[in-house]
Amino acid sequence: MKDVIPIQTNNTETIAVSKNSKNIYQQAIDTFSNFCRARSLFVLHYCTGCGAIELPPAMTSRFDMERLGIQPMVTPRQADILLITGYVSIKTLKRVILTYEQMQGPKYVIGICSCTVNGGMYWQSYATAKVLSEYLPVDMYIAGCMPRPEAVLTGLQQLMKKIEKGEANSWENYFKRYDYYLGNQQHLFGDTWHTPTDILEEARHYHLYGAESTGNNTARLIKYTVEHDLTKLDAPLREKDSMTKRGKK
């Protein structure tokens, strides 16, 4: 057992988004963007647990998600919402994090079922992760074992309201507090945990780099990647990414 990294308690207060002075046109564009975002949600088609059995009814003829503008999507690149449907075993949690990092912001995570809140029925189990918000920023929990399709749809509608008001920004926390999330991930998966996505570079590129983005845990990650020459392996990828980013500016 690798108990090197101490458990960090979940700091629920989110970092206040600096209300930088935006002129009226930018504000209008923001409002309109949020209006559109709230009306079109692509849900990633990934069943992590048993709650996924209530998604087909919610998507199909009886409850019909599409009338609210919600569509299932196949790959993480295309999706906006990651529905964590029920317990995540540790093996799945790794894939969930990889999936989440591949998604494009603004992205939202909804924890469906009690298992994502506190382990639920499997609180005793050695194989499932207990509190989802320690590893990913979660926008909303829908409790129940399992929540009915009506509950899922109500939850999604509440998320839509949040998005329209521009309050669903917890995805930015993943960049701003990457050290915290990475620490918890390392605690569970061991020191050698690393993902192909370079979160810190993305945070710098999208101006989401904060004081809590780096810390002991990210230092450990960087040390590991340097020691194992992973930077070299990823080099063509990085070059390509930075090239396009340069082009965009």
């Binding site: 990934y46 069943c47 009814p57 009886r62 993480p76 075993s89 093996k91 799945t92 499997y122």
Partner: protein
């Protein structure tokens, strides 16, 4: 063109590459992965990768009281939870030597068969979606929802019912409720002809499913295939008949079989089983309406201090996916000493799937998986 410029293109040794099917892939049922090695469109090797849904059920059950496990058990297989409760209850009853009232047995059969109908409707939907026919999926899952409504009215639970407890069932079902179920069955029978027209008699579907993933009877027996998949090879084996539990020996039904052993045959077996289940439920409703007894469970000891006599038992139930069995060992304590769950998909989703997929085409992977009705949570437990 000058002659020296005209050279034959040299091909590399191998065009093979690895493709991950899952865990996040629409062609995979549930959270499961399949690594396939592809050469062109042909699959040269396949390796199943499970454990994404592992919760350590068997360990959890050792840590909980006998009565608490009733709530844990149905969660092993999500689309078809009732047989799990049933199998556990049968095992505990066997250990405790309970005499279960007759009416409770018939109520359990009602639950089991309704659950089978729901699970088969779900599987048709999934199978249709893998070949790109979404209408059938949309219709089938909406019709399945009507059965879930019945469950909710009978038991209070939509997906997980915890209705069957060792010693009997939790509640009785009234005549009004039985009438509602019988109306639903009429509706489903009417819908079956729609499904026939749309899906089972669809030329393109038949063209795709025929000769896909063929299992010969000999292979099926030696690979441990059970349930509808075995019956699709022409072998009429059914736990309900062979190792009769509850009151299946008093019920008239046919064992649906097909001979081809391919994806189409497996699908048609499920279609026939659906009709048979409707027939069984009708018999159960007739019995329950005639039967005036209200005795639905036997006396069970104080659940919080319930000690099950020491012993071991192996119980088998026919779930919609195949043979489901529980091996329960008690050392006379308040908690089970050991519970081993043998999910039917533990064969279908691992060895059988790997063998059927290899040598096939990339297009057929999802179809074979859904035609085997593999249920990953049963494999991972």
């Amino acid at each position: 063109m000058r002659a020296e410029n005209y050279q034959a293109v040299t091909h590399p040794e191998s065009h093979e590459f690895e493709l991950n099917f899952g865990p996040n892939h629409p062609g995979i049922e549930g959270n499961y992965a399949l690594k396939v090695r592809v050469n062109g469109d042909k699959i040269v090797a396949a390796k199943a990768d499970g454990g994404y849904l592992h919760r350590g059920f068997e360990k959890l059950m050792e840590g909980r009281l006998w009565i608490q496990n009733i709530a844990l058990v149905p969660r092993i297989c999500v689309p078809d939870p009732v047989p799990m409760e049933m199998c556990y209850a049968l095992g505990v009853e066997d250990l405790c030597q309970f005499e279960v009232p007759e009416r409770a047995n018939w109520l359990r059969v009602l639950q089991l068969e309704l659950s089978r109908i729901a699970a088969h409707l779900f599987t048709f939907g999934g199978h249709a979606a893998t070949v790109g026919m979404y209408s059938n999926m949309f219709w089938g899952i909406a019709d399945r929802d009507l059965i879930l409504d019945m469950f909710e009215q009978m038991t209070g639970g939509r997906v997980y019912h915890m209705y069957t407890i060792p010693g009997g069932v939790r509640r009785d079902v009234g005549v009004e409720q039985l009438d509602k179920i019988s109306d639903l069955l009429d509706y489903l029978e009417k819908r079956l002809s729609d499904y026939d027209n749309l899906f089972f008699n669809n030329k393109i579907f038949i063209q795709r499913a025929r000769d896909t993933g063929i299992l010969t009877p000999k292979q099926a027996l030696s690979w441990g295939v059970t349930g509808p998949n075995l019956r699709a090879c022409g072998l009429a084996f059914d736990v309900r008949r062979d190792d009769a539990y509850l009151c299946y020996d008093q019920i008239d039904f046919d064992i649906a079989t097909e001979t081809a052993g391919d994806a189409l045959a497996r699908n048609l077996v499920r279609r026939k089983e659906l009709a048979q289940s409707i027939y069984i439920v009708r018999q159960v409703i007739d019995y329950l309406k005639k039967d005036k007894s209200t005795h639905i469970r036997c006396q069970i000891p104080n659940p919080l201090a319930w000690k099950v006599p020491a012993g071991e038992t192996y119980t088998r139930v026919e779930s919609s996916k195949g043979e489901l069995s529980f091996y329960i060992v008690s050392n006379g304590g308040e908690k089970p000493y050991r519970v081993h769950v043998r999910g039917p998909s533990s064969m279908h989703a691992v060895q059988v799937l790997e063998k059927l997929v290899t040598g096939g085409r990339l297009e057929d992977v999802a179809q074979i998986m859904f035609s085997l009705d593999a249920c990953p949570p049963e494999v991972d437990r």
